[in-house]
Amino acid sequence: MIQLDNICFSHIANDGTSVPTLQNLDMHIRENEFVSIVGPSGCGKTTLLEIILGLTRQDSGNVRINGATQNQTFGWAGYMSQSDTLLPWRTVLRNVQIGPEIKKIPKTEYEPRINKLIQKVGLTGNETRFPSELSGGMKKRVDLIRTLAFNPEVLLLDEPFGALDAQTRENLQQDLLSLWREEKKTIVFITHDLVEAIMMSDRIFLMGSKPAGIKKIFDIQIPRPRQYHVQFEESFIRLHKHIRQTFESLSGNQS
């Protein structure tokens, strides 16, 4: 589905020097797979996502989506960035509609789908409100179903639930998992929270920094559906410990 070969990328620092961010990075993501990318902050996770999306161009190496070289082709993926990118002048409903609108999908076709999505994440009754009138959790819900509304094959989510309180976060995780189960999408999920990564993913890609590449891949074989309490089971805790230790030995600083 998504194939990265030998990706290198350097960014130009403010003083003009070029700093290698990604070096010889290989990655292969299968269809309908839920993968997480975990790594220390500043290691280039967002850059990696932007390269996959075609928003940033790699210095060398190859990105292939379904076998075709990624050459700034858009429209195949839904993208949720770290920051709030809802359009503040559009109501909840019109924000969710933006994807189908851009793809010129007829209203009769997308309307039932959007209504179902809104209901699914519990936003019914808020359709005519503006983003400035919503709580943080509600905004994230709108953002999540906005990326799904035009039915892309792939979702690329960059720390989507980063700034939320624990309770809202768990609800949204479960929402995302059940949407993924129903819709059968390929999801690439960036997080710095190991528990979240284990909870959600089929596989976890562990990134290291300076320069970054994929250091280790973990298969998560905890049976699905996974409920919130899975994280208190012994197998989960063992796995968490193991990944944590690998993570710390890679990043070097024992925190």
Partner: protein
């Protein structure tokens, strides 16, 4: 009595009190109505100009010049900012030139405009235009520079082309900035029309003020100022209404 009514009546009483003091001072001879005007005489003068319609004519002239300059300045200011915003090359080339032209006190150019475009409406419209243009231009440009890159990226990833990004993200995104530019541009366009009439003209409220002051017709000056104040209030009210409609998505109360 509701609070709103209370506010209204207090306001009216304040105005009446002020006018009463003014009138009283004139009657008692504390101030000379020949230089300072007198409310009752101003009312008489206004009434006579309402009867013969001349106040409406001159107000309309000034309004027309201001609005024509305003619309031209708004459209060209917006378009110029969008073009330069989309093309960093031309933005760099033109940046110092724009700053130089902007830096020239426009009032120094007013006599030139009178020479080039005559004593009629055209010179005032051009003058108002030069004032409005830069305000709208700089505001729109600042709006473009402050666009949220993440917003554009998410929409681009969905497959939006340049036109769609322009329509669905950039134009609505800069609308608060453009509105702010238009709002100050509105005041500036009236100022431009007025100053144009001062410097050389044969109609309009600016001309009326200037010529009446030359003849020591103080009451006439105040009549024109009164008409001008009403005009500013009316245009502001209309503009605020439009602004509230366009920017109704913005949270209204911000506690500072």
């Amino acid at each position: 009595m509701t609070l709103d009514q209370k506010i209204l009546w207090t306001r009216i009483s304040l105005i009446l009190f002020g006018l009463g003091m003014w009138e009283g001072f004139c009657v008692c001879g504390i101030i000379d109505p020949y230089f300072f005007g007198q409310p009752t005489s101003i009312c008489q003068d206004l009434w006579s100009m309402i009867i013969d319609g001349s106040i409406f004519f001159h107000t309309w002239i000034t309004l027309f010049e201001a609005m024509a300059g305003f619309f031209l300045g708004a459209v060209f200011g917006c378009v110029a900012a969008l073009i330069l915003g989309m093309s960093p090359f031309w933005a760099k080339v033109l940046d110092p030139l724009i700053m130089v032209v902007y830096g020239i006190p426009r009032i120094a150019l007013a006599p030139l405009f009178i020479l080039w475009f005559g004593l009629g409406l055209a010179s005032k419209i051009v003058f108002a235009f030069t004032l409005v243009f830069f305000l709208v231009f700089f505001n729109t440009f600042a709006g473009l520079k402050n666009m949220n890159q993440g917003m554009i990226n998410t929409i681009r990833v969905m497959g939006a082309g340049r036109r769609q990004i322009m329509h669905k993200v950039i134009l609505p995104g800069i609308s608060p900035w453009v509105m702010a530019g238009l709002k100050s541009g509105m005041g500036m366009s009236l100022l431009g029309a007025l100053v144009g009439e001062y410097i050389g003209g044969n109609a309009g409220l600016g001309w009326m003020i200037n010529s009446a002051a030359g003849l020591f017709e103080t009451n006439r000056v105040f009549s024109a100022i009164f008409a001008l104040a009403l005009l500013v209030m009316a245009t502001n009210a209309v503009f605020n209404k439009i602004e509230r409609r366009v920017l109704k998505w913005r949270p209204e109360n911000i506690n500072l």
